[in-house]
């Protein structure tokens, strides 16, 4: 059965910069998706638990504090550990190019850095999300 794409926008770690997370949350809503925003200071465990409880198709992680390698990767690892392979994990923030391939290897499908148009993120989600979500 088809359903609207559900996205969890999450702020892992202690970073308080949520302008990007809030803007993207609103952008995805305007694109017709259902968006749940976790608020600040979430541990990877809390994010994964929320994703399962809310039955989301996508987790969008945001960090501008340099903690992305450790925390984004941990979210992907916890999902894998729980046998979940149909949630698309993407990330954004102040992330140097050289970290992007490491994140992709760890299971982050795509990383959107400053200056990315919202439509690019919307399109990526639509093209890569699990079947049945629109």
């Amino acid at each position: 059965m088809e359903h609207k794409i559900r996205v969890l926008v999450a702020k892992p770690g202690l970073d308080g910069h949520d302008r990007g997370a809030l803007v993207i949350a609103q952008g995805l809503r305007d694109a017709g998706m259902e968006v749940i925003y976790t608020g600040l200071r979430q541990t990877p465990e809390q994010i994964v638990a929320a994703a399962i409880q809310e039955d989301v198709d996508v987790i969008g992680l945001s960090s501008l504090s340099g903690a992305h390698l450790e925390l984004f990767s941990e979210v992907a690892r916890l999902l894998k550990e729980q046998g979940i392979d149909d949630i698309l994990v993407i990330g954004g923030g102040v992330i140097p190019d050289e970290d992007i391939s490491a994140l992709q290897q760890n299971g982050i499908a795509a990383v959107f850095t400053p200056g990315t148009p919202m439509q690019e993120t919307v399109k990526f989600i639509r093209d890569h999300v699990r079947k049945g979500a629109v």
Partner: protein, 551 residues
């Protein structure tokens, strides 16, 4: 009709005729705060302008032209670059480098665990130790941070809010150990919790106990650290979160009103603490709007302090401020272009009469700055100071038809917001209702839509972009730092007198339950090497933690 009016009318006709043949670039020109920008400003726009009422002279109420009589002719602004990363050793090295390069004040960036009152070995600190600033878990780290820097000869700003009392106590104790008495210390703690709830996110406690800690600091410093700026009421982060220039000033001054109110309710005489209040603003892209913003802010604050709070001491009327160039205006694309943006923003801050300035580094949309980038940012200020001549006369743009009209218009719009927030019951109520947060969020989203539609141009990003840029050299923070800091903490805990630490933390807890000033208790705990996290947690147990509603 006067000759001026006649000629102005004739000009307008000529201009309209020209426009009918060659349309202007836009139908409407406006600032970031949606203030219309007209084709031309003339004496007509200032026809009922009263110089003495609106501007007066520098160093004189309402301080529109600046808070000192001679401004930068006496001494340049303080060049104060925000720095801090990794361990206390690394940051101490960067501090000494910046001082050698001619920087005139220090500004400390703490990592997020420190800013939120967690030790480096707390599970909540995972991945964040040393990342956006220096990790300070105890007095021992603070001693290392300022090693070889005589604290009676340098002014130090610390971006610390919820645990401001703890870090200030550490600074005072480091000075004591250097033989410097607290009355010789100069510097600033940010200590502005309200904007943390609104925009920056490093809150710990709910508003009421947070306001108490802040007034405790006001009271303690008035007595013991008289040259310390006890708060830096910050619009910077409000702007970074996406607000307009008008919102930046309005929300900041509304927050300031709440702090003054809280201190007065705690029975502190206004002229005792108000001269030590300081402010912190953003210098964003729209050049004239920014200059007008700083001038309007000074004039409004002077009126608030003199008339609303009946302060008598002119020092209580003066809005003294630090400025940082706009981080969110930096692009990750073609990062060297950021040097040019920063130059223009810095110039706006100086034409607006700032007391101190941080210029951002070109690579900050990508990572913390490298040493080379940080040096260029400092050189930018030095070039403006020593080569451009803009610092040689006070308020050089004062009297500009455009600038004065814009300053007046911004003032009107700021008052509208302040009055609205007053009606809501003040800043704390407005924040609890999510009002400021929603206003900022709407403005941020609108900016994003304007950039995506191309209405707002960002060079190198949505216009004049290039493909295949070579990534610049970036600073990397040692990923092992969390582990190293944890080991250090374990060692500290095994070496200090834990019975004494326990005793002092209990005394703090008891004091927190009552209504004593907490500064002396925090100082005692710091002296015994109680850690940042232990002190913050002691207060968490009494005060609870702030849990924001989501708006």
């Amino acid at each position: 009709m006067s000759e001026l009016k006649e000629k102005l009318e004739a000009y307008k006709k000529r201009a309209e005729k020209a426009v009918s043949r060659f349309p202007e670039r836009q139908e409407r020109f406006a600032t970031s705060s949606e203030i219309d920008v007209e084709r031309l400003y003339s004496p007509e726009d200032l026809s009922d302008f009263d110089y003495l009422e609106k501007l007066a002279f520098p160093g004189e109420y309402p301080y529109t032209r600046g808070i000192q009589p001679t401004m930068y002719r006496g001494r340049y602004w303080t060049m104060r670059q925000y720095a801090g990363f990794g361990s206390a050793e690394e940051t101490n090295e960067r501090f000494r480098y910046l001082l050698e390069q001619g920087q005139t004040g220090l500004s400390t960036a703490f990592d997020l665990p420190t800013q939120i009152g967690y030790d480096a070995d707390d599970p909540m600190s995972r991945g964040e130790v040393g990342k956006v600033g220096v990790s300070i878990s105890s007095l021992a780290d603070m001693e290392t941070l300022f090693q070889g820097i005589p604290l009676d000869q340098v002014s130090t700003s610390m971006t610390i809010n919820a645990p401001a009392a703890i870090l200030l106590a550490m600074y005072i104790v480091v000075a004591e150990k250097q033989g410097v008495s607290p009355d010789k210390l100069t510097g600033t703690i940010q200590n502005d919790i309200l904007k943390e709830y609104v925009a920056r996110g490093t809150y710990i406690y709910p508003p009421q106990p947070s306001m108490r800690l802040i007034t405790n600091i006001f009271e303690y410093c008035a007595e013991h650290v008289p040259n310390w700026n006890t708060i830096s009421i910050s619009g910077y982060h409000i702007r970074e979160a996406g607000s307009t220039a008008v919102q930046e000033v309005a929300f900041t001054l509304s927050n300031a009103i709440s702090y003054v109110q809280a201190a007065i309710e705690a029975e502190l005489p206004v002229d005792k603490f108000a001269p030590r209040l300081s402010f912190f603003f953003n210098a964003h892209n729209n050049f004239f709007e920014e200059i007008a913003k700083f001038r309007a802010a000074r004039r409004i604050w002077a009126k608030i302090m003199r008339h609303r709070f009946q302060a008598q001491d002119p020092k209580s009327w003066q809005l003294r401020f630090h400025t940082q160039t706009g981080g969110s205006t930096l692009t990750a694309q073609q990062p060297d272009n950021n040097i040019v943006r920063v130059t223009l923003q810095a110039l706006a801050a100086l034409l607006g009469g700032t007391q101190s300035l941080h210029t951002n580094s070109r690579d900050e949309a990508l990572a913390l700055p490298t040493e080379e980038s940080a040096r260029i940012a400092l050189r930018t200020q030095q070039i403006i100071a020593y080569e451009s001549g803009v610092a040689d006369t006070v308020d050089p743009l004062g009297g500009s038809y455009f600038l004065e009209a814009l300053t007046d218009r911004m003032e009107e719009k700021v008052w509208e917001y302040i009055e609205k927030i007053d009606e809501m019951g003040g800043a704390v109520a407005a924040i609890e209702q999510g009002y400021m947060q929603r206003e900022i969020q709407q403005a941020a989203y609108q900016t994003q839509l304007n950039i995506e539609s191309g209405k707002q141009i960002v060079i190198g990003m949505n216009k004049f972009a290039v493909d295949n840029e070579t990534p610049p050299e970036l600073l990397r923070v040692n990923p092992e730092l969390g582990r190293i800091q944890a080991e250090r903490l374990a060692k500290l805990r095994s070496q200090r007198n834990n019975e004494e630490v326990e005793k002092r933390l209990q005394a703090l807890e008891k004091a927190a339950e009552g209504d004593a000033n907490l500064m002396p208790y925090i100082l005692d705990a710091v002296r015994a090497y109680a850690t940042t996290g232990e002190i913050a947690n002691t207060l968490r147990a009494v005060f609870g933690e702030y849990r924001p509603s989501l708006f």
